[in-house]
C-alpha cells in the first residue's frame, strides 16, 4: 500500500475576478451537460413547444374576431403576449429539472464538490437561456408565418427579444429556489397557479378592457411590463393605458427582473448551501 497520490485541487480563489471566472467555468460545465440532453433527445424540444406553437395557430384562427384596444390587428397584438407567456412557462422547466436533480441526489453530489456556490445555478441559467433562445427563434418564425410583423427594424426587435430573455433569466433564479424547496409532484402541478398568472396580464387582452381592479393587477404583473415593452419595440398595437405602470413599461421591463433577482438570487443560493434531504 502506497501513500495516496491524490490529484491536487487548486484552492478556491479569493479575489473577486478569479472567483467569477471559477463560477462561470462551473456554470458552463454544468450547463453544457444539459445541452447534451436537447441534442440527444430532440423530443424534449417538441414537447416544450407544443403549447406555444398551438396558441400561435389559435391566434391566427380567432385573431380576426378579436378587437384590440387602441385599434390594430389582434394577431400583431397577440404574438408578443405569447412570447412573454412562453418565457414565463419556462420556469416550470427550471423547477422540474432542479427538483428532480435534487430528489435524485444529484444536487447533493454537486454540493460535495469544490465548486463555486453559484456554479450549479449558473449551469441552469446557461441551459435554460440557450433553450429559450431556440424557443423564441421558433416562435418568431411561426409568428412571421401567420402574418405577425415587427415595424421598427431589426435593432429594436432584437432588443425586445433581449428583454424577453432578461425576464427569463430572472425567472430561472425563482425557478431554482422553488425547485429546491418543492417536491417533483408539486412542481408538476405548477401550471395550475401559473396559467392564470400569465392570463392576468396584458398577454391576451389589454388591461384597459378589464374591470378596473383586475386591470390594475394585470398592468402591474411583471410579464405585462416585458410584453408591453416588446410591443413598443416591435411596433405592435395595444400599447395603451394611462396608469403609471402602463406608461413606464420599458422601465418596469428592467426593474421587475432586477427585483426578482434581488429576491431570488440570495434565496436560492442560501437554500442550495443549506439543503437538507
Amino acid at each position: 500500500m502506497t501513500a495516496t497520490t491524490m490529484i491536487t485541487v487548486p484552492p478556491r480563489p479569493t479575489n473577486p475576478l478569479d472567483r467569477l471566472r471559477w463560477a462561470l467555468t462551473d456554470g458552463w460545465v454544468v450547463g453544457r451537460t444539459n445541452l447534451f440532453h436537447w441534442r440527444r433527445n430532440p423530443g424534449l424540444i417538441t414537447q416544450c413547444l407544443m403549447y406555444p406553437v398551438m396558441t400561435v395557430v389559435f391566434g391566427f384562427v380567432f385573431g380576426s374576431a378579436m378587437v384590440v384596444a387602441g385599434g390594430g390587428s389582434y394577431r400583431e397584438f397577440l404574438m408578443p403576449g405569447l412570447f412573454g407567456q412562453t418565457m414565463m412557462f419556462g420556469i416550470i422547466t427550471t423547477m422540474m429539472v432542479t427538483s428532480s436533480a435534487t430528489a435524485k441526489g444529484m444536487t447533493d453530489r454537486f454540493r460535495t464538490m469544490p465548486m463555486a456556490q453559484t456554479g450549479v445555478a449558473l449551469g441552469r441559467c446557461v441551459a435554460d437561456l440557450v433553450t429559450s433562445v431556440f424557443e423564441l427563434i421558433i416562435l418568431v418564425v411561426c409568428a412571421l408565418l401567420v402574418g405577425w410583423r415587427f415595424h421598427h427594424g431589426l435593432g429594436p426587435a432584437l432588443g425586445a427579444l433581449g428583454l424577453l430573455l432578461l425576464f427569463r433569466f430572472a425567472l430561472v433564479w425563482a425557478g431554482i429556489f422553488f425547485g429546491l424547496i418543492l417536491p417533483v409532484e408539486a412542481v408538476g402541478a405548477g401550471y395550475v397557479p401559473l396559467l392564470p398568472l400569465t392570463m392576468l396580464a396584458n398577454t391576451f387582452v389589454s388591461p384597459t378592457q378589464m374591470p378596473p381592479w383586475l386591470g390594475a393587477i394585470a398592468e402591474w404583473n411583471p410579464v405585462s411590463a416585458t410584453v408591453a415593452a416588446c410591443r413598443e419595440l416591435f411596433g405592435n398595437p395595444g400599447v395603451v393605458g394611462d396608469s403609471w405602470a402602463a406608461q413606464h413599461a420599458m422601465l418596469l421591463a428592467f426593474a421587475w427582473p432586477a427585483v426578482i433577482m434581488l429576491v431570488f438570487v440570495p434565496l436560492s443560493i442560501r437554500r442550495y448551501r443549506n439543503l437538507e434531504r
Binding site: 500500500m1 495516496t4 447534451f36 441526489g105 454540493r111 464538490m113 469544490p114 456554479g119
Partner: protein, 344 residues
Amino acid sequence: MTENVIDRWSPAPDPAAGEAVTAARDGAAIVMAGLSKRYGDVTALDGVDLVVPPGAVCGLLGPNGAGKTTAVRILSTLTRPDSGTALVGGIDVTRDPDEVRRRIGVTGQRTTVDDILTGRENLETWGRLYHIGVRTARRRADELLEQFGLADAATRMVRQYSGGMRRRLDLAVGFLLRPQVLFLDEPTTALDPHSRNEVWQVVASMAAQGTTVLLTTQYLEEADRLASQIAVLDHGRMIAQGTPDELKSRIGGHRIDVVLGGDGAVARTARGLARVVGAEPEVDAAASRISVPVRDQVTTLHDVMRWLHDNEVEVEDVAVRRPTLDDVFLSVTGHGADVGRAAA
C-alpha cells in the same frame, strides 16, 4: 448470551472529544467526536465517536434508520451537526467545508450519473468540476474507465448500462481525485450478487491505492469482506467498534439453524444443543427455530446432527449460514436489529 460479553465489545466508553482531536493531530483520516444530529423528534446521531486511521477501510454497519447516511452527510459537508466535532483529513467540516471538499470523494446511496451522457462524458464533467483542468480530467476519465472495467462502454450512453456498470461508474466519479478520503453510502444495495462482487473488487482496489474509505452497509458479510475496522450503529448510537475478527469472535462464526418439525420440544432441544456446542443458542420459539453458533464447522455440524438423531428429534430443516447483522445485534444488545426498530 449476555453472560459472555467480552469487554471490548461492550459499548465503547465515551472518549472525551479532546482525546479524539488529539488522535486527529496524530494523522487520523476521519474523526467524529460526540457527533449529534436531530431531525425534529428523531435523533439521527446521538454522540457518536469514531476515529479512522489513514489508509483504513471502515465499515459503518447498521440497520435502516441507524444514522449511517446522516454520518456520511455530515462528514462530506452536506449537513451540519447539532453538536460535536467532525474532522476529515484533520480539517473541521463545519469550519472549512471548502478545504474538505478538495480532498474527498462521495458516492451516495443513489447513483447520480447522468443517463444521457456517456460514461466518459460523465467522468470528464465531474473531473472538470473539481477544477483539475480539462486535460487531467480526460486522462483520469480514461484511467478510471480502464480500472473499473468500463473501457468498452466508455462511449455508450449510461442509459444503456446495467445496474452494476452504473454503480461502478458512480464509484469511479467518487474516485476521480484518488481522494484522501472516500465516502461510500451503501455501495452494493440493490445489486445482484455478481455486480456486488465486482463492486467489492473495485472498492478493494481503491483502498489499495491508499485512499481511506468509510463505507456504510447493512451487510455484515460486506463489512467483513472489505473493512479493516467495523463500527456498529443503532438508533444513532455507536454500540460496538473493532476489527472484523474481534467482532466475529464476539458473535461466533457460522450458525447452524435447526428448524424442528411436529410438536417440536424447542426448549428441551435448545438445552441439549447448548451442551453439545458449549454455547447458548438463540431460540425463536414461534418459528421452532434454534440457531447454534459454530466453532468448527465440520465437527459441530456432525455433533449437532448426531445429537438430534440420538434424541429422536423431529427435524424439518438444518442449514449452515454466515452470521448476519441480526446476529451482531443479538450478541451486542440482546435483541435483533428489527426488534430494536419496532420497540423504538
